[in-house]
């Protein structure tokens, strides 16, 4: 009709990039701030390694939580489930109170337990229509209770078990370099190859210079990170686990049918159902995936602590949700990205670690953590979807200005 609608949508991708950019800016500002507060130690290899290690468990949970939230659900049980999986693995390995199994058997069993319990919660949500909030709130208590039983003696894992290395060891420096460079090369090849293929098929794609600058920027970040952690002891194994999980979930969310269906279900369940999507199965699937990740995170937690305790992973469900939400995941469902969640996790980790260094009182740390969450989401909503009163206020202000 009129060409005004031709312009409507074209701004959207730019907007999304702006959002990620603003997160990066927030991160940089925080880093500079803490650098000034803490001193040169803050940018040391040790500090980087610690930052990347501390965020592992709940960032793995946050990545799963992103997909659960995207599908229009929520999972409050993951902290307890993490603890239960950690306890399961620990009791299976521990020779005194438990079975003394090898970690190679115990770890898959623990992850399987997580997957099955997650799937069961999904089953109750999808087929019995019990809201996931309720089901997983139940799970939150049930799994914690089971953990207390399973982890009654707080079983330790013997030093000789290979799983302990995941929690304490570092990838040798030269292998770290190989991993980093390989990651850069794979990324470059994939991006250039898809871009070339699109060009061949005459599909619109990013201009070459943008693709290349993307590759250069990300390669620099990766290599700088490897350089930094290598100045200390190298890349922590657990950080590597986290990156593998993040990349896998990134691909699931972007390039698979399952991922696409989750966005559709969370965006409009009725439309998804009428489009022939088997909504129930996908919801069971996403909760099973979440449970599996809780298993993985549980195993990592166990490795970090060389055993399990009754209160492992307390509040982690909330950290996970917070990271996802700071990263732009909408609690209404249908919106959210793994990359955003990773940045959200980084923001959370930076705040937590930075305050640790500045030896802020514990109570104040919690206050700041909570405020950062509300502030980050609040700013996002105020810029993206301002409430009517704010729009009116702005309108009046602009009218006043134009008169003056």
């Amino acid at each position: 009709m009129k060409n005004s609608n031709l312009l409507d949508g074209s701004k959207v991708p730019l907007k999304l990039n702006l959002r990620l950019l603003s997160m990066v800016i927030i991160l940089v500002v925080m880093w500079v701030f803490f650098r000034l507060q803490v001193g040169s130690f803050y940018f040391s290899g040790e500090s980087f390694a610690k930052l990347s290690r501390d965020m592992v468990s709940w960032t793995i949970l946050a990545a799963g939580a992103t997909l659960v939230i995207v599908s229009g659900n929520i999972d409050l049980s993951v902290g307890s489930l993490l603890a239960l999986c950690a306890a399961t693995a620990a009791i299976l390995i521990n020779p005194d109170y438990g079975l003394g199994l090898s970690a190679s058997i115990a770890v898959p069993i623990a992850i399987l337990v997580g997957t099955l319990l997650g799937a069961f919660q999904g089953f109750l949500t999808a087929y019995f229509k019990i809201p996931s909030f309720i089901v997983t709130l139940g799970g939150f208590f049930v799994f914690r209770g089971m953990t207390q039983k399973v982890s009654a003696f707080d079983p330790r894992v013997p030093d000789k078990s290979w799983i302990v290395r995941i929690g304490f060891d570092y990838v040798p420096q030269n292998i770290g370099w190989i991993i980093g460079i390989a990651a850069c090369i794979i990324m470059a090849v994939v991006l250039l190859w898809t871009s070339a293929k699109k060009k061949k098929l005459n599909i619109e794609t990013l201009p070459l210079w943008l693709t290349i600058s993307k590759i250069v920027i990300f390669s620099m970040i990766i290599l700088l990170f490897i350089l930094k952690v290598n100045q200390y002891k190298g890349l922590p194994y657990q950080t590597l686990v986290m990156f593998v999980v993040l990349v896998a979930l990134f691909i699931i969310s972007k390039n698979t049918r399952f991922g696409r269906y989750l966005y559709a279900i969370g965006g409009n369940m009725q439309a998804a159902r009428l489009s022939g999507i088997k909504v129930e199965r996908k919801i069971v699937g996403v909760f099973a995936l979440m449970g599996m990740l809780a298993g993985v995170a549980g195993v990592v937690w166990m490795a970090q602590n060389q055993g399990s305790t009754k209160n492992a992973g307390e509040f982690y469900e909330l950290y996970a949700i917070a990271a996802a939400v700071i990263g732009g995941t909408s609690l209404m469902g249908g919106r959210g990205t793994i990359f955003g969640t990773f940045l959200g996790g980084l923001v959370m980790a930076t705040v937590i670690q930075g305050m640790d260094y500045t030896s802020l009182d514990n109570w104040l740390q919690l206050v700041v953590r909570g405020s950062v969450l509300v502030l980050a989401v609040g700013i996002d909503i105020m810029t993206k979807n301002p409430p009517l009163w704010l729009q009116q206020f702005k309108y009046k202000l602009s009218r006043k200005n134009s008169k003056a």
Partner: protein, 516 residues
Amino acid sequence: MAETIIINSCEKNMTEPILIMQDIVKDFPGVRALDKVSFDVLKGEIHALVGENGAGKSTLMKILSGVYPHHSFSGSLTLNGKKVEFNSTKDSEKAGIAIIHQELTLANNLSVAENIFLGDEICKFGFVNYSLMVSEAQKLIDNLQLDIDVRMEIAELGIGKQQLVEIAKALKKESSILVLDEPTAALTENETAHLLKLLKELSAKGKSIIYISHKIEEVFEISNRITVLRDGQTVKTDLSSNWNRQSLINAMVGRELSDMFPKVQSEIGEVLFEVENINVKHPQIESKNILSDISFKLRKGETLGIAGLIGSGRTELLSTIFGAPPGLRTSGKIKLEGEEINFQTPRQTISGGLAFVSEDRKNSGLVLGLNIKENISIVHLNDFCKFGFINENKEILKCEKLFDQLDIRASSINVLVETLSGGNQQKAVLGKWLIKQPKVLLLDEPTRGIDVGAKVEIYNLINKLKLNGVGIIVVSSELPEIIGICDRVLVMKEGKINAELEGGSITQEKIMENAA
């Protein structure tokens, strides 16, 4: 081209206009919904506002009620001789304008009395004086000679009585201007007569009423003046006595029906699709059926219309056939090309070759947060997948093809569908179902709320599918549309097929006769 006569001087016995809307212009992305519309209402008159769907009636009323705030359109509102600016519905309510929308805005779980006083409860120190509220509400209801116990829950009342409660609620606010948007669409003849009588009494008491309706007889019976809108412009305002049925229809349509509905002669072939003996229970009321004993056949290349009032079971029939019944289906079979197919879930019917463009594109047709490509490819995503991974290039190429064919107006297929205009959204819905040609296409209100240009494009598309031998079932509230595009029409009433019309017997009168 628009010939506008604003009558205030030539009126004899009526006073000054209580409301004047002057040169209203309202733009939506891609569409000018109102183009310099002027409209006025005199004290104590009933002024009918008519026009086809999408002519701009609802938009005009939303401007009057403050749904679209003052700065979102241009033009002026004058109430009782003073310029007014409404920034919200609260403002217009305060100024004495009450709107009764087509979709009722009552809280189903509350009593009639609570609804009437909603937001304005009789309170002392924050505690509701329930008994006083009930007696006041009952007084109001009795004054209107309505036979309703105000302690009953809204859900227990029929749709007709709910409509009357809505009017009572509006009157309680002592509004001087009452706007009714299609108030009789869901009413029986008796209820309609009662409502019209009530409105006449109110106007005699000095209330001004703006009456929006599709039903021409009602409009002539009740109104003092009639304004016709078409494509966002005022065609004409004149005394009801100066209009007649034909001139009114001509003014509304503004073109020969044949231009609007380019009919093609398609070869109507053998029986393609059969529906046998479908019964579906009401989801809440155990003893009631939403659909009873529905059976019909559809031939290749045939367009079958389903007409009926709102709530007659049209939409429910389509969604049941598609495998998404609104209640428990107790019996029924469907056969495609002679073979029975399961219709437990949409997946089964889609694999069989059915496609369903649902009535409400925002609630059940599109995922607004996804882009055009992702919405179009969702139904047959499998075709672009290998081992669960989406082949993005294949998907893009196919979706771009449809994007061009359907002439969706957006800068690219990566545009979010929530930013598209209604017509383009509807094309996106069609796109997702036509990505693979279906055998049977179910269309529920395919042209609701979209502009005329897009409508014609959709009719042309339907014709093209017809020629390809697709069987099409159309549900529509717009009778001209049903008459214009259908080869055969089933008229539904209270969950049953009440009549079957074919060829020359498909007329507006015949349909209404069997629907009401």
